[in-house]
Subunit: 342 residues, 2 copies
């Protein structure tokens, strides 16, 4: 491995001079600067980030931890975070917790041991609290994305889940639906809780009865086993005319289950959900959704993170909370029951 000492030797200067050339610090004569630069090129020198971070006590690297790298919501969010990070001159690394608290812990370990300067994190669930406490304890600035964690205050970017649920339910009722079921993520995840609450309130507001057996609590991640959904559908009698899905993955699973039974959307069942399906939803668009501003989640979150990092540590600044509105995109997955169209 080529070190600054190798360069120093070849250039006939001290290692310190080389260091100064690399970092553009101090005063260096143009002549020695040139000489050092040439030697660096010749030897193919690459700075050792570890040695550097070790003495500087900072890594200049930020970390983004998402829960599902195959979900377009998170990948779009990642692009936003990336753009913002680059804009501020930080490197960004990604991790994928797969909605699993254990994998999240592994990444947390990576984050802590590599001394990332800051973290943007979509927590796997309420159990992430201990992870966040570890970050706080070690003074690693972080910004929460998409999900709150009870017991932990911090900067955060949230979607307006309640209002989103309201929009979905009202769209359904406006088209004549009354028996509206909901499939949702785990109640260990704040966004799932808020969406359920929004659904509940909207049902009440529309004088529709909230029925326990119309609710299925499962998880936001893709499952291979659809039997839980099947059992849930079976026990609803009479069957609902519409289903609200807590996110895009669940909507896809529901539709797959339905179509395995020969049921079609929207003819036999209407389905709506949170989050769009990515760029690919634009062709032959089926699903009516409440789309969140995924890119903004990442971009604004990263901005908050960088601000937080650059604040003087001793200076107390209150936590910021950004709530991004969700926008309904009406497509063809909802039947109009009002005019006999089915």
């Amino acid at each position: 491995m080529v070190t600054i000492y190798d360069i120093a030797a070849k250039a006939g200067v001290s290692a310190m001079t080389v260091s100064r050339v690399i970092n553009n610090t101090g005063k260096i004569s143009d002549k020695t600067r040139m000489k050092v630069r040439r030697m660096m090129d010749e030897l193919g020198y690459v700075p050792n980030h570890m040695a550097r971070s070790l003495v500087l006590q900072q890594s200049n690297m930020l970390f983004l931890l998402i829960t599902d790298i195959t979900n377009p919501f998170y990948t779009t969010l990642a692009r936003g975070a990336e753009d913002a990070a680059n804009k501020y001159g930080y490197r960004l690394l990604f991790g994928n917790s797969d909605e699993k608290i254990d994998k999240e812990l592994d990444y947390l370990d990576t984050i802590l041991t590599t001394r990332a300067d800051g973290v943007l994190i979509a927590p796997a669930g309420d159990a992430s609290l201990s992870h966040l406490e570890a970050l706080r304890k070690h003074r690693v600035p972080f910004v929460l994305l998409d999900r709150e964690v009870p017991g932990m205050e911090s900067d955060i970017v949230l979607g307006d889940s309640k209002d989103g649920a309201r929009q979905l339910v009202e769209h359904l009722t406006s088209r004549g639906h009354q028996r509206i079921a909901m499939i949702n993520g785990s109640r260990q995840v704040s966004s799932a809780r808020m969406r359920l609450e929004g659904y509940r309130e909207a049902m009440k507001l529309n004088d529709l009865s909230y029925q326990e057996h119309h609710i299925l609590e499962t998880t936001f991640e893709l499952q291979n086993d659809l039997s839980i959904i099947e059992a849930w559908l079976d026990q609803m009698d009479p069957a609902p005319t519409a289903i609200v899905a807590g996110n895009n993955v669940l909507a896809v699973e529901v539709i797959r289950t339905l179509s395995a039974r020969g049921l079609r959307v929207p003819e036999d069942m209407s389905v709506v959900c949170f989050d769009d399906l990515g760029p690919y939803s634009e062709i032959d668009p089926l699903l009516t959704v409440v789309a969140q501003q995924a890119y903004q989640f990442g971009y604004l979150g990263m901005q908050m993170l960088v601000e937080r990092i650059q604040i003087n540590k001793d200076f107390i600044v209150p936590w910021k909370k950004i709530i991004l509105p969700a926008n309904m995109i009406i497509r063809r997955s909802v039947a109009n029951l009002n005019d006999g169209t089915e």
Copy 2:
């Protein structure tokens, strides 16, 4: 920051003993081990990965560099790579080059300076050669994914692009199509070249004329500006009856352009492409595609990488090349011109 010296002091042992406890090396009495462990917990010790890597000269971290984090092909690939990396006890970090050689260079810098133990990389294009040469020069093992780079031999996982193109063209001809156009990625990207060649050969094999103006070379990444596609469509007279897209992103762009003109798929134009659209393609599936085994790309690539890393450096092992077959999934985006169904 808590160091092993702090723990050593509190526990009344030497730093070396603490180090041994942390790494489970050497023989330690249960009593001191317990004592050290307790102190570590009490003080909230977190190992400093940088200091560790600095002396060990290895980071135990692997890197996956993809070109489009919003493309389901790459995110599924990422899941495969991640699973394999974890299986072998490595941490995996992700980067997204966005098909841009400059961003790739930035990540390469990160990889080099952080001393990643190995890299899985989907190169942005032929210009990535210098980046790969840098990796080779610094003895960072790498495995290429999805794309070859002329002038650089290495382990690699490829899709059978030529055969994929053949399958698509033959599917179209079997349904009576003769004027088949192709929109493709940059010829700076090997997979685009291979797909074009496969298309060309398949056209010839089916006695169809290869027409220069039926080919549009653009890029695999999502563009906001669709005017290039519009201009291309305009200058084809007579219009083709089918379009082969070099990847999923291009297919989506073509379909968006078509539908902006009121043209429908497959009634007015048939469209097929490489790569599936992710889990979300399973609902209301439109596009007929040649699906690549994305997960396997990542999983097998990672296996090769780990093997390469663990090989004794002095021992010469020939490069391995895995070619994964592509499988056609027939859906509804191709009109059957044979029986007047149009």
